[in-house]
Symmetry: C2
């Protein structure tokens, strides 16, 4: 019987991305998600860094399930906003998870900002937490710039307004495989896979 890990997120977009990335790594691991654990309570994201929030989520789920748990926290860091929205990316418009409202607000905030100042990066902290309380952290970034209107139907969050360096398309216009190859989450989780192999 293969080892099992559980993905510590209820975000179906993230579950999909994490399953793809872990599948590519060809781990001999069964990947569960929180759909199998409806009683695990949501963890308030009270951290002020991506790593803090990912550690909070992964350890809470490892404790609650008794299984190694994998979590990520990620967000968009806008140069001219000093790195904000950052850990507040998913609640930028004030309510958690309203992607369209978050994206519209950011476009409006930056409407007067010229082309020279529209740099940004996505950042991801990926965590593997074990039931014994230990953990491993890996981080990834994807640099690029923000455009003025949403383009593309793939991806989620701020993907439709983010053009990665070296690309002419937004993250939401890339195929899933193209996005995984360069994305903050892809980079972080491929770095984490080595730890999963060792420890699970």
């Amino acid at each position: 019987m293969s080892a099992r890990i559980v993905l510590a997120t209820r975000n179906t977009h993230k579950v999909g991305e994490l399953r793809r990335i872990l599948a590519d790594a060809q781990l001999d691991v069964e990947v569960l998600d929180l759909a199998a654990y409806p009683d695990v309570p949501d963890v308030p994201e009270t951290g002020v860094t991506f790593a803090e929030n990912a550690l909070l989520k992964a350890h809470a789920v490892a404790r609650a399930t008794g299984l190694p748990a994998v979590a990520d926290d990620s967000g968009l860091c806008v140069d001219v906003l000093g790195g904000a929205p950052g850990v507040f990316s998913a609640r930028w418009a004030g309510r958690h998870g309203d992607d369209l409202a978050n994206l519209d607000l950011l476009l409006a905030q930056l409407s007067d900002v010229g082309e020279d100042h529209r740099g940004a990066h996505f950042a991801c902290a990926a965590v593997l937490a074990l039931p014994d309380g230990t953990d491993r952290v890996a981080e990834g970034r994807m640099h690029g710039r923000l455009i003025r209107e949403a383009l593309g139907a793939n991806g989620f969050g701020y993907d439709p307004i983010f053009v990665p360096d070296g690309e002419r398309r937004t993250s939401a216009q890339l195929t899933p495989a193209e996005k995984d190859a360069i994305s903050h989450r892809g980079v972080a989780f491929r770095a984490l896979v080595g730890h999963v192999r060792e420890l699970v």
Copy 2:
């Protein structure tokens, strides 16, 4: 006849504060405001620092009126947001000058942020621009922390949720004179007054 300067703002709250601060300095200067110059166009605040925006506004008004012009740009810099809203303070909710929407949005964004991470400061860049194209810049800050609900009816902008260091009241609960004595705008404009005395 005394010299004349013009305040390069249409924000009536700012006109009031600047007139108070300049009156306290007992300059022998007649202070006009843009109400006397309805044809001076609004200047887009395309800068990414307070000083850049204040310079843009002051020089535009000095050119348009032929008089020495005084401008400020100021905003709230939240530690956990990496200094944002910053120059975007007045348009944080996406529309310029909707104080209540801006404040409500910031409270919602920070709703999960604990007491240890609610530090912030107000910053102001004050500029005197002369019709010959020269200028002087002065800056001021007021440090403090953000509370979770709006308190007080004085002041404007984010004053009702900001408690200055050493105070138990919000900036909006201070009297105008108490606020001027410690505020970012008071500090910056008192520093600028020396230049006004020299140059006007």
